[in-house]
């Protein structure tokens, strides 16, 4: 088996186990929902304020949700030592990492897409005509979070203080992607929306470099 076919098999397994247990998706969806609702009721923003602060709050919620999602992605391979079985079975261990990145990106993207209408309703913003641009931004942002986050999750899974270590390492590293994603989303939520290609370029560069 080659790298790509191994990755595809592993990704299929990740999706199947997640849809059976709904461990990661339910945690992150509930978390983001609570954060978005709390922000909405605490700040009670006007439309202008929603355009200015909404994207920042949204990406902050996504980032915290991602840190919740990334923590168990390698830990649950330790329960029955399935990571050892995978290492014995795959021709290239990089396939395990690639599949985890793919799965984390997919699950994060699903959370974001489910939360988008809730956010639009609570913060009174419209994405009409901007949907594919928003999707592109969400995809690049989620990929960046997953690429860096999965690597750190793999490292911290073996550490003793892993619950503390992952957010400590993750949050500073992901600050640039948070800033770029927020800026692009702000421009797409503006009264006269436009695509900030510079931000998209930065997100793409971040994804490729990491």
């Amino acid at each position: 088996m080659g790298l790509l076919s191994d990755t595809a098999a592993l990704l299929g397994k990740e999706v199947r186990t997640e849809f059976r247990s709904r461990e990661l998706l339910s945690t992150t969806i509930v978390f983001v929902l609570i954060v978005v609702v709390l922000f909405s009721f605490t700040f009670d923003p006007t439309t202008n304020e929603s355009h200015r602060f909404g994207p920042g709050l949204l990406w902050l919620a996504f980032l915290f949700a991602a840190s919740l999602m990334l923590q168990p992605c390698f830990l649950r391979e330790q329960v029955n030592d399935t990571l050892s079985a995978l290492r014995l079975a795959v021709s290239d261990p990089f396939a395990i990492f690639l599949a985890k990145i793919g799965a984390n990106t997919l699950f994060l993207l699903m959370t974001e897409l489910l939360m988008l209408p809730v956010f639009a309703a609570l913060f009174n913003v419209s994405f009409r005509g901007q949907l594919w641009r928003i999707l592109l931004t969400f995809f690049l942002g989620s990929l960046g979070i997953s690429v860096a986050g999965t690597a750190l999750a793999a490292i911290s899974a073996q550490a003793r203080m892993r619950e503390l270590l992952l957010p400590l390492l993750l949050l500073p590293l992901l600050a640039p992607i948070l800033v770029a994603s927020t800026e692009v989303t702000v421009s797409l939520m503006a009264p006269e929306p436009f695509m900030q290609w510079k931000g998209i370029g930065f997100l793409t560069l971040f994804d490729v470099v990491f």
């Binding site: 088996m1 191994d6 592993l10 030592d81 399935t82 079975a89 795959v90």
Partner: protein, 243 residues
């Protein structure tokens, strides 16, 4: 079904140390296992049996020393079937999905047929669509054994393989291991006490504090030196106080 796909291979541990912090799991261990040997590893808890098996499977690197393979796959990792303490299968997948998934990764030919055949052999044919999390410890162990046998491995590493198995499954495992041993597969298994599986061994090695303290090919010696009587085995523990 019992014959390995490739010619069997041998292992050579050369002055191997494995340290976890300040504790030595293996200390200056040298052991050569010829292709086709069936070796029983004995020793108390913490004597280094599991560490030795994990190094043999290339899942753990020795702190010092080397492990080399001889035979058809010289200087390459062999196709190792490993049954460890943990079952190494996914609770959220069914028995069939688990085996199909690992068979796909291992590039097993005639996957469906092989998976169905193995599930029948381990006695889980009628439970193949049940999630592993609904299985008892013994049933999980059967799935683990089936997973290890999927690719007709040239090297089998078993860490207390009969854990949780009922007499019927133990009998099946003993028979299957005997077939594999006779077909030339190299087998290294850690065991506690004498059993039908232990009697399959053509050689037995006893470890103590990470070093080989006895190594024999004689059937009588295997009983006396490698698997001493229960009283001897437990002599090091204090006698519990009577209530």
């Amino acid at each position: 079904m019992a014959s390995p796909a490739e010619p069997s291979i041998g292992l050579r541990f050369e002055k191997v140390d494995k340290r976890y912090g300040a504790v030595y799991a293996l200390r200056n261990l040298t052991l050569a296992i010829a292709p086709g040997e069936c070796v029983a590893l004995a020793g108390r808890n913490g004597s280094g049996k599991t560490t030795l098996l994990r190094i043999a499977s290339c899942l753990t690197r020795p702190t010092r020393g080397t492990l080399s393979f001889s035979g058809a796959t010289e200087n390459q990792n062999p196709i190792a079937g490993f049954v460890a303490h943990a079952t190494m299968v996914y609770d959220e997948l069914t028995a069939e999905e688990n085996l199909s998934f690992f068979a796909k990764l291992l590039g097993v030919a005639n996957r469906k047929q092989r998976v169905d055949g193995l599930l029948q052999e381990v006695g889980l044919g009628d439970r193949k669509d049940s999630l592993v999390r609904t299985f008892s410890r013994g049933m999980r162990q059967r799935v683990a054994i089936a997973r290890a046998l999927l690719a007709n491995p040239t090297l089998l590493l078993f860490d207390e393989p009969a854990t949780g198995l009922d007499p019927e499954a133990t009998l099946w495992l003993t028979g299957h291991l005997a077939k594999l041993r006779d077909s030339g597969c190299t087998i290294l298994m850690s065991l506690h006490g004498e059993s039908a599986i232990a009697r399959l061994a053509t050689r037995a090695v006893r470890l103590d504090t990470g070093s080989v303290v006895a190594d024999t090919r004689s059937g009588r010696d295997i009983s006396i030196r490698i698997f001493p009587s229960r009283a001897d085995e437990w002599a090091c523990f204090p006698t519990p106080r009577r209530c």
